[in-house]
Amino acid sequence: MATSDSSISGRPSMAGPDSSISGRPSMDLLRFATAGSVDDGKSTLIGRLLLDSKQIFEDQLEAVERTSKERGFDYTDLALLTDGLRSEREQGITIDVAYRYFATPRRKFIIADTPGHVQYTRNMVTGASTADLGLVLVDARQGMTEQSRRHAVILSLLRVPHLVLAVNKMDLVDYSEEVFEKIQADFTSFATKLTIPDLTVIPISALKGDNVVERSERMPWYDGSSLLHHLEHIHVASDRDLVDTRLPVQYVVRPKSDDFHDYRGYAGQIAGGVLKPGDEVLVLPSGFTSRIAAIDAFDKEVDEAFPPMSVTVRLEDDLDVSRGDMICRPQNAPTPSQDIDAMVCWMANEPKLRQRQKLAFKHTTRTGRVMVKDLQYRLDVNTLHRDLDATELGLNEMGRVQLRTTVPLLCDPYEKNRTTGSFVLIDEATGVTVGAGMIN
């Protein structure tokens, strides 16, 4: 394939493309979701992580100091750093998912900061959907609450692979090992009912900074790492499915130019497995097979592609492939199905989810319509109780449903693949996203 020099008029003094910039080693990315209420000190913890990693600038800190003084607080309320919208500042609560960013030399972090109250389950589900790790806060004086159990349940349902329980406000219980161990034991025993592949419990004080960035000397009995050290070192690359090849076709690239007259590439983001040139592939739903001729990443060809790379694949044969199709392997492909069994989190006040309701859906790059065949049960996210008599799902409720789709879904169980196992439901009248589904 023809290549062109991709760089134009780069300033001669710039760093070369392969040089590590400003002497930094190459960093990777960790997305984590936090859950907890104002009382758990979540905003203070996030404020502390941002402040200690020098992500807070003087003008931001001054604004917060000014506001704290105006409100007559004794100390600077770091929680104010993360209150975004005016209505939230007025009410002193967080009502929406907020995204925060900080970086250390090892890693860039994206925090999905979600409010903890029961009415905001939909926000927590949203924040957890993209997270590699969930961070649940509890107040050491209170221990496990209904809220912290709910947070763990949601993280488990959303298959967030790593969970950290931060036992906060250790300063208010005299840094007591006993208190910590009791909470740790309670939580661990509760977690056995859930799907939590990796659990870490850390005693901290967000206000005083104990075990947040540095190991605290005030808890010599704790031999684990600080929260930040844990976040920096946890291994997440292998959480992705590198076995089952899945490429949902997103866009067909056809330049129709003299230089690339016959070029036809299938663009998309790899959802699973590793693709290599020469691999035999199966295209669904047509069922045609071919081989990968090349994998293009902009003006270069790559020797393999894996999640979450965005690439453009060329096939050896001229097949009719379009958006919504799935490229996979002949011996390893999802079974197309129009009957879907899924856990759904409902996200709208009106309409409610009811039997025989028709909705639009989006799954990978496929869209269509669904009909609700059956609501099997509603799940109480606080008690894990299944209400088999439920006839509808309202805002912030979760339940197991049977759906019939107008077109087959090329899907995997959500527990195997969070990309090909998830979908959203859309109200056709308003265009609003009303449900999030995870396929069983």
Partner: protein, 305 residues
Amino acid sequence: MTIVTHTDYRLSHLDELEAESIHIFREVAAEFEKPVLMFSGGKDSICMMRLAEKAFYPAKIPFPVLQIDTGYDFAEVLATRDRWVDRLGVRLIVASVEQAIKDGVVVDDGKTSRNRLQTGTLLHTIEDEGFTAAFGGGRRDEEKARAKERVYSHRDEFGQWDPKMQRPELWSLYNGKIREGEHMRVFPLSNWTELDVWHYIGREQIEIPSIYFAHEREVFDRDGMLLSTSEYVTLKADEVPEVRTVRFRTVGDMTLTGCVESTASTIDEIIDEIAVARVTERGATRGDDRFSEAAMEDRKREGYF
């Protein structure tokens, strides 16, 4: 040319951000009838252009580029814009605030800044041309109100953003459903920080306007901000212009965009400077964000970028 990559199946943070942004560009191009890319000539919109270029290569970017001309733009920025547009072979639409004032689309009352008048001009152009999606270079790390905005940010018939009515955004499943007269603002750089953008520009070796690099310029101090002298600004009695070595951290309306004293003349030096900067880029150099604590939230509700 074939390159061997990533034997441990890990992507660097820049590669992962790039993959996510490219996914967003392709999704919009596939699902929206008439997208447009809002291009200011600033580093963020140049970063967007690069990602769009990569998303569709070897085809051309399948949508036009829109610039709102305040009439007070830096010549260096317009020159960079023209070189990018030429190289990529995309259609450039320039909507002029000046013209919008003449046509009565927006009202210049002498008090409202050109930056604010851009909003009316932009909404008018979107409506006039029938654009259904407009890519913007906004990042969530810029400002508190932006931290809560979606990648796909829905706008009603009046172009307004209603933070309380935002659609939940899960996984990488973006809901592009809109009704007649509505449009979507799309922010492919949502998860990038200022530093990520600079690292990416350095890595990609792409052209940005020269005013980002240290240069000598005649400036004066107004309300603690260093502004450039130009034909558009009238000095007040106590304002004394002097030549200093400066650079700009953001580009916008010349009458409102301040510069900082700096000797950073390469991307690496800029990155080192930002790494130790103590003030946000907007706080330091944008007069338009200083008016109130909720300045950005208010402008966003009205339909600003």
